[in-house]
């Protein structure tokens, strides 16, 4: 289809290129001399790190899927006690920063923690030899922890997919005698597969880039190696090479999924006025459904939140800070701006990919999504490099005119943080919007264009209303991630600028989360506002 004029593709490529710049800067660094650090790492720990990375990434992906998909389907398609609460309750773990969850759980479950101490007291055990308790600080412990805070991606995108599915399909299945289980397995699940794949890929990328959780769980991964080589051995080149290696892992994962999905395409006509007729669960089944949701909710949100409240009460006098309001406003403004920018980019690129006749159009959104898999601080360096280059050239230009330059214009400003966030979180918006675009049959485009609508008119009148839910999901996810984001904000920020996350972090990094617990609660609460608001929009029109 050649319907777009030249401006749209040019703009799309420009956006993708800009979003790819930080990564390009890192790749460029990797060609520098690394003082043989990389080779030496190969000889010692790198194989173990790679194995750990693989174990963590694959099991977090799998666990998030096994938690997220069934719950999404139950909440979207079934009726059971407390369903209305779980609709948004299951999203809450997302508002909880992973480093907080990791801190709370390692504290609770380790040998000196209250649970094991309590058990020893209760049964009169004296030493570790008297009983066996699972060791939480393993790759599996870290994976469970990451899955507990990341499964909401799968839940949200899968639920959106289930709700966007044409009800006539599931209703036909029921008329033909299928029970709830069969209609899930044979109709809903295959139709939702692209959305689930996108979500699992996002989860995999996020766990690949994670440092805080694996660090708490004493599980060295490639991210650990990146920081070791960069900050320890002092070799940014070796660190950049490792980052490139991590991206390769990521591309293999994505390619595998693509191969698995082969050339399946499902288009559906979904009419939002169609009411969802939910399976009425009865007897033990309905209570089973409620308990499943409740257990996941408590593990991912309830327990850490209660622990935070406990800490905040214990340390209230030292943790109250009059500047909370300023920090909250900083966090909020950033999160709102970044989520809108990311959505805008996602729509531009998604629409470009859909309408472009070029076989390379697929690449643009992929380029723009790569930032998500880089460890945060490395990404921040990737952002600093082009921004300072820009600032230096401006100043040299002034110098050449014999005038005083303006100094740093872009780096070390709020713009730098917003740019860092956009590069990092664009992948989420792109994934979410794209999976909604993919459900719209191309025949709709043909009809619309034949009837004389311009491409822009079609976007506003036809596509946007159809992908509205995907857009809301994108806004919500990017907003919450931006509220929690830490490494990029920490390194890119201007002087005296704090977000809630950077404020909490200084206490976490001094081994006293207790003093930052109150601010951590504010992060969660502020994250809840859009969660409830947007979730209502997702639920409406059913």
């Amino acid at each position: 289809m050649i319907v777009l004029n030249k401006k749209w593709p040019a703009f799309s490529w420009l956006l993708s290129f800009l979003l790819f710049l930080p990564l390009l800067a890192i790749i460029w660094q990797s060609f520098g001399d690394d003082g043989n650090v990389f080779a030496e790492l190969w000889q010692s720990v790198l194989p173990d790190y790679m194995l750990n990375t693989l174990l963590v990434v694959v099991s977090v992906g799998a666990l998030s899927m096994f938690i997220g998909v069934p719950i999404a389907w139950l909440v979207a398609m079934c009726q059971f006690p407390m369903r209305k609460f779980f609709v948004w309750g299951m999203l809450l773990p997302l508002a909880m920063p992973s480093y907080v969850v990791a801190f709370v759980y390692t504290d609770l479950l380790e040998y000196a923690g209250p649970i094991q101490s309590g058990l020893r007291e209760l049964f009169g055990w004296k030493t570790a030899q008297d009983y066996s308790f699972f060791d939480v600080r393993t790759w599996f412990g870290a994976s469970v922890m990451l899955a507990l805070v990341l499964y909401p991606y799968v839940y949200l995108l899968a639920r959106t997919a289930f709700l966007e599915q044409s009800q006539s399909l599931t209703q036909s299945a029921r008329l033909l005698g299928a029970n709830a289980w069969q209609s899930f397995w044979r109709i809903s699940l295959p139709l939702a597969r692209p959305a689930i794949a996108v979500a699992v890929a996002l989860v995999a990328m996020e766990s690949l880039a994670d440092f805080a959780v694996v660090n708490y769980f004493a599980v060295p991964t490639l991210t650990t190696a990146v920081y070791d080589t960069w900050l320890g051995y002092g070799s940014l080149a070796a660190a950049a090479r490792l980052s490139a290696l991590m991206l390769a892992v990521l591309f293999v994962l994505i390619a595998l999924e693509r191969v698995g999905r082969a050339k399946q395409r499902h288009y559906q006509r979904s009419d939002s006025r169609e009411p969802v007729i939910r399976h009425q669960l009865t007897g033990a089944k309905k209570w089973l459904a409620s308990s499943l949701c409740l257990v996941v909710f408590m593990a991912g949100f309830g327990v850490p939140f209660i622990s935070l409240i406990n800490m905040a009460i214990d340390y209230f006098d030292v943790s109250w800070n009059q500047e909370f309001l300023d920090y909250s406003i900083n966090s909020l403004l950033l999160a709102v701006t970044v989520s809108l920018v990311c959505l805008f980019i996602a729509i531009i690129l998604g629409y470009f990919k859909r309408l472009s006749s070029s076989k390379y159009a697929d690449i643009a959104p992929k380029l723009a999504s790569t930032g998500y898999a880089l460890p945060g601080t490395v990404l921040a360096i990737g952002v600093i490099i082009p921004l300072t280059l820009f600032d230096h050239s401006i100043n040299e230009f002034f110098d050449s005119l014999g005038m005083a330059g303006p100094g740093l214009l872009l780096s070390g400003t709020v713009f730098a943080i917003a740019a860092g966030y956009t590069v990092r979180f664009c992948a989420i918006a792109i994934g979410s919007v794209e999976s909604s675009f993919n459900k719209i049959s191309p025949s709709i485009d043909m009809v619309t264009l034949t009837l004389g609508r311009s491409p822009l008119g079609m976007l506003f009148k036809v596509h946007l209303p159809l992908i509205k839910k995907g857009c809301f999901a994108a806004l919500l996810l990017v907003f919450i991630e931006s509220m929690k984001e830490l490494p990029a904000a920490l390194l890119l920020r201007p002087f005296n600028y704090e977000t809630l996350a950077t404020y909490v972090y200084q206490f976490v990094s001094d081994e006293q989360l207790e003093h930052g617990a109150l601010a951590a609660i504010v992060i969660v609460l502020v994250g809840l506002i859009p969660l409830i608001f947007l979730n209502r929009s997702l639920e409406q029109q059913q």
Binding site: D48, E110, R137, A218, W230, D314, A380, T388, G405, L490
Partner: protein, 336 residues
């Protein structure tokens, strides 16, 4: 178009000149948590009328400084580890400071021979030991490799800067091969794989998971001062290792003036202030560190641990052996 460029140029140069004539200020890139330096900074602002602005991050500030080059707004870098100070010097990011005030406040072994960095406080890598199961006995870092400690040692990650610095000092004293053997044996003695933070080690000893551990002096001090964490700390002695020979390993927190500091005069004023009696006193009281200035009083708690002999290995040696230390830690797979 031309007129637009001209306008943009005009606006920018006005903005630039405003920045140049702003009130007196000092801008800090800090590897130290803001809340730890706030008490000193606030006092300085009040005493001098100079505004202090801070960016705190644990990683990457040196790289940011390097990329900003001569455009940087940062005047001063504060660090928590000698390696960061040496990195700044090695990369040519900092400048020498010629100040008689600093020179008289900071002893010669705690500042760069070329005056490119200065220590502000020192901290000891102590041995934490169970009161019941080990007691208040002499101990050395070397002892931790002895078979009597089999299954009795806890430690945080080998890659943590404080551990790496200790391993560097071992290399400086014993050479690479012997240090590798020491590390291998210490690893064999571990009760659990390296994990948690310094406070976590104290809690583990209190709970009976292990008998001895390594940790910085001030974490112990802060636990004793926190009513909720005191019970755990009360089970533990803080010991100063190697008192019979070279003395306990120390590390420093410190400062350096950036090469392109735009507010050089104000920055040096702050540097002098930080080495003075008042600031050194606050560091000692609030953070439970050892002040570098001779004659400044330690906190009562820290003083109650008694005097100790410190390893007088040159700070620059600790930084020099850092890559080798990391390599050894990787080779013996200390953390795995």
């Amino acid at each position: 178009m031309k007129s637009m460029i001209a306008m943009a140029v005009g606006v920018m140069s006005v903005a630039g000149s405003f920045a140049a004539y702003a009130a007196d200020e000092v801008n800090i890139y800090s590897y130290r948590q803001s809340f730890l330096i706030d008490p000193v900074v606030e006092k300085f602002e009040k005493d001098t009328g100079i505004n202090v602005n801070v960016v705190f991050a644990k990683k990457g500030l040196a790289e940011r400084l390097k990329r900003e080059g001569k455009l940087t707004k940062a005047d001063l870098v504060l660090t928590t580890d000698i390696s960061r100070l040496m990195e700044l010097k090695d990369k040519g990011l900092v400048a020498a400071v010629d100040s008689s005030v600093i020179e008289s406040n900071v002893p010669a072994n705690l500042r760069d021979p070329e005056d490119q960095w200065f220590a502000l406080t020192t901290r000891v890598r102590n041995v934490y030991a169970s009161k019941d199961r080990f007691g208040n006995k002499a101990i050395s870092y070397e002892d931790l490799a002895n078979p009597e400690f089999k299954g009795k040692i806890c430690t945080r990650s080998g890659k943590h800067p404080y551990t790496v610095a200790l391993v560097s000092s071992m290399i400086a004293h014993h050479g690479e091969a012997e240090t590798k053997e020491w590390l291998t044996k210490v690893k064999e003695n571990l009760a659990r794989k390296p994990q948690g933070n310094d406070r976590g080690q104290i809690k583990a000893i209190a709970a009976g998971q292990c008998d001895v551990s390594l940790g910085n002096s001030y974490y112990f001090g802060k636990m004793v001062s926190d009513p909720k964490q005191k019970p755990a700390a009360d089970n533990v002695h803080i010991l100063f290792p190697n008192q019979d020979n070279r003395g306990a390993h120390i590390n420093v927190s410190g400062m350096a003036l950036t090469k392109y500091a735009p507010n050089k005069a104000a920055a040096i004023k702050l540097m002098e202030y930080l080495t003075g009696d008042l600031a050194q006193g606050i560091y000692a009281q609030v953070n439970m560190e050892y002040p570098v200035k001779v004659g400044v009083k330690k906190s009562d708690l820290v003083a109650s641990w008694g005097d100790f002999k410190a390893d007088n290995l040159a700070m620059s040696d600790i930084a020099k052996y850092r890559p080798t230390a990391l390599k050894l830690l990787d080779q013996v797979k200390f953390d795995l």
